[in-house]
């Protein structure tokens, strides 16, 4: 990341402009623009079907936008296929974890580093194991036999293995017990402190806003509000709609 010093510090790491995505005739994302700066945690919150995951999947290249631009580190990346995005420094930890169920924890992590030269993998494994000691204990276990929380850790660790400039997390707390949700958000905070830039999609708005720097609120494919996460946490409309107060 240090080699990017020539870049203008005010230039966002990720800049999405006027993104439109369709599922057949359904207009799922209707002109979303957002920015993520280096070192930030930015969160997208909103109800089911607001277009949060669609936005992430489009940025990751899994879906093709009909209109709009995606710029990563000053380079336009829209139209790049998903399998090439990871080489551009972007990794997505997908909704539902999508851990390789028949592979061991170690193999899953090695696949996460698929885009990187072989000799760098060992160091990254050591780094990831120090962040997730639980995975070290489970190194040889098959992915499908891990608990939900462990699978979420594995999915996040796997996304880290590509050494991304920007890591995107889609609903990391989904289906987890409250104590595990706390643990997962603790890890997200640690990642943030160690300098990883994160774009986080969450239904758990309370938790998301409490760890994020900035937030965008999505409603039926559009951004209805945006700003400082701490401010949004206090905002009456946000509290009524998403925090149940």
């Amino acid at each position: 990341m240090s080699e990017n010093t020539t870049r203008d510090q005010n230039l966002p790491l990720l800049k999405v402009n006027d993104l439109h995505v369709y599922y057949g005739a359904i207009h799922a994302v209707k002109g979303i623009s957002l920015e993520v700066h280096e070192g930030e945690i930015v969160t997208l919150i909103g109800a089911n079907g607001a277009g949060k995951s669609t936005t992430l999947n489009t940025i990751a290249g899994l879906l093709k936008p009909r209109q709009g631009s995606i710029v990563l580190g000053g380079v336009p990346v829209d139209g790049t296929g998903a399998s090439k995005m990871v080489y551009k420094g972007l990794s997505l930890c997908p909704e539902g974890r999508r851990v390789f169920q028949h592979m061991t924890v170690r193999e899953n992590l090695e696949m996460g580093a698929y885009s990187r030269p072989k000799e760098e993998i060992e160091a990254s494994l050591a780094d990831v194991f120090s962040r997730f000691p639980r995975l070290k204990e489970r190194e040889k276990q098959i992915g499908g036999t891990l608990s939900g929380g462990e699978q979420q850790m594995l999915a996040m660790a796997r996304a880290l293995m590509s050494k991304p400039k920007l890591m995107m997390l889609d609903e990391p707390s989904m289906g987890l017990a409250p104590i595990l949700v706390d643990q997962i958000f603790g890890i997200i905070q640690e990642l943030h402190e160690s300098g990883v830039t994160i774009l986080l999609v969450e239904q758990n708005a309370q938790m998301a806003l409490s760890v994020a720097d900035r937030a965008y609120v999505l409603e039926t494919g559009r951004i209805s509000m945006s700003g400082n996460a701490a401010d949004l946490l206090q905002n009456d409309d946000v509290q009524k709609a998403y925090l149940g107060n």
């Binding site: 399998s83 995005m85 990871v86 390789f100 193999e107 696949m111 698929y114």
Partner: protein
Amino acid sequence: MDFLFNLVNGLSLGSIYAIIALGYTMVYGIAKMLNFAHGDVIMVGAYISFCAFQYWGLPPLPSVLAAMIFCTVLGVFIERLAYRPLRSATSLAVLITAIGMSYLLQNVALLIFKSDPKNYPGQIIDLPGLSLFGGQLKISGVTLLTIIANIVIMILLTLFINRTKLGKAMRCVSEDRGAAELMGISVNRTISVTFAIGSALAAIAGVLLCSAYPIFDPYTGSMPGIKAFTAAVFGGIGSIPGAMVGGLLLGVIEILGRAYISTQLADAIVFAVLIIVLLVKPSGLLGKQVREKV
């Protein structure tokens, strides 16, 4: 002694089925489609090795290599041309296309080589046989080579799938295409490699098959193709050890059925066993029970 002789022949025929079944099972596991043109690639392999040996004057081993190279290119080409454009189409559309591709290969072969059967030269695999129990049990060189080839192929393929980066990428694509892409794995390239391996194996199967049963014509691939597909389903489609077990069992059942029950009923017995196995274990002998997650 008769029984032992039949058993060895059954294992040999079963090894051919197993090698063909690998192509079905790998393509099914990774591209999630049934490539019914696979059987006809065997026939192409037989013709190419035949021509290379008979007309172009190549020695035996280079003739076999020529067939393997040609079939590899053909397999990748078929996938590019016919199946890749249908990647997001319904599985029925892909199935019909595969059947069409099968007829296309047969008819092109008919045009070029005509329908009269040819005699496959025995010199391509010219190995000394084995004589056991004071000459009571004779095993031909082809039979031995087929069984050994099958074992070697299974070991190499298992190592490839479990140890190499490309092999692991194949397992990822097989399990979750979207997640594999997020890792940076090119799904198209992985599927091409799968077709290449399957088709090279089909060429080997063609050489072994025609060396054991030397009369061949443009339809030669279709029945072994269907049997091998059956073997793949029998063993659990998508599973590599399953293809091995299914192929061997199918070959043994077929030969023993032919020897001790009825020559005419041999195929019927094979398929009856398949039906019984699928009734008891729908995913095949070694198939994984896939649970749909909600």
